[in-house]
Symmetry: C2
Subunit: 166 residues, 2 copies
């Protein structure tokens, strides 16, 4: 049986996980957000075998999270806009991991805002009036890219942005 | 060579990815946030082989994201507080995937707040004054669970919450 191709699914979570689901990917992003750009820097800080690191960086370049650019006699891996835009999800994963899987001693690192010294965390979703939104408060509707199965499942027969039938 | 044990790393991102890094995990959370509780419901909505689903659900129960409870003659999988607390990271992954990997037609689904009808998204990190915080604005400091290597790397010799030496 072939492994499931998550990139071929329509779901944005599946497509994101086709890129992020290999667990080293998030740790490579962690390093990039901490300022690492060189292959050797990633290898040393992550303790990852060079052949695996090379494959993971190539995967992230192919999916548009990093550009591989000349930097003197070597190469540097620079975050693209798409890679930088993963900062919110990186923070959210980091915060959840620190809340639920830290040892008794607490988290090994803290992230602070250089400008203010305040801790930097991913804010939970809230309404305009400031009340929190949890999973029980939401409803899924078909979007403009919905197919027939999604429209059937989520209870309307038309995608939201389509014209109504006669 | 043994596969790397991410759960044994100190980093909260690594520990989170030891649970979430198997890509089906996020799609199982997607289903749970959409209200699915039964094995058959997960199997049908995900199109996942029963043996893989069973292994993935067991993994998520073992890591404390779901409780497996009696529900009539069968079982239900109910999100724990830890599982519900993954809602913010789920949203952040969903939003990023929809922004960067939707087809030309747009995302297949929309998530709205039942109370207001407004779209529900993961907010990016901001300062108290509302200005956005990006990866270039942050600094990593050793936390209370830092070991010597982390203290060396992030430039202070003492964890932040330790008493100063004489």
């Amino acid at each position: 049986m072939q492994p499931t191709d998550f990139g071929a699914m329509r779901c944005p979570v599946a497509r994101a996980m086709a890129v992020l689901g290999e667990r080293w990917s998030l740790l490579i992003l962690r390093e990039a957000f901490a300022g690492t750009t060189r292959f050797d820097g990633f290898a040393t800080n992550l303790g990852i075998a060079p052949n695996i690191l090379s494959a993971r960086l190539t995967h992230l370049v192919e999916h548009g999270l990093f550009d591989r650019v000349r930097d003197g006699s070597r190469h540097a891996y620079r975050l693209t806009d798409r890679g930088r835009d993963a900062f919110t999800l990186y923070l959210a994963i980091r915060d959840w991991g620190a809340r639920h899987f830290s040892g008794d001693e607490g988290p090994p690192t803290l992230m602070i805002d250089r400008a203010t010294g305040a801790p930097v965390t991913a804010p939970p979703p809230r309404r305009a009036d400031g009340t929190p939104i949890g999973p029980e408060d939401v409803r899924i509707l078909p979007g403009p890219g919905a197919n027939a199965a999604i429209r059937r499942r989520f209870g309307t027969t038309e995608p939201l942005e389509a014209e109504p039938h006669e």
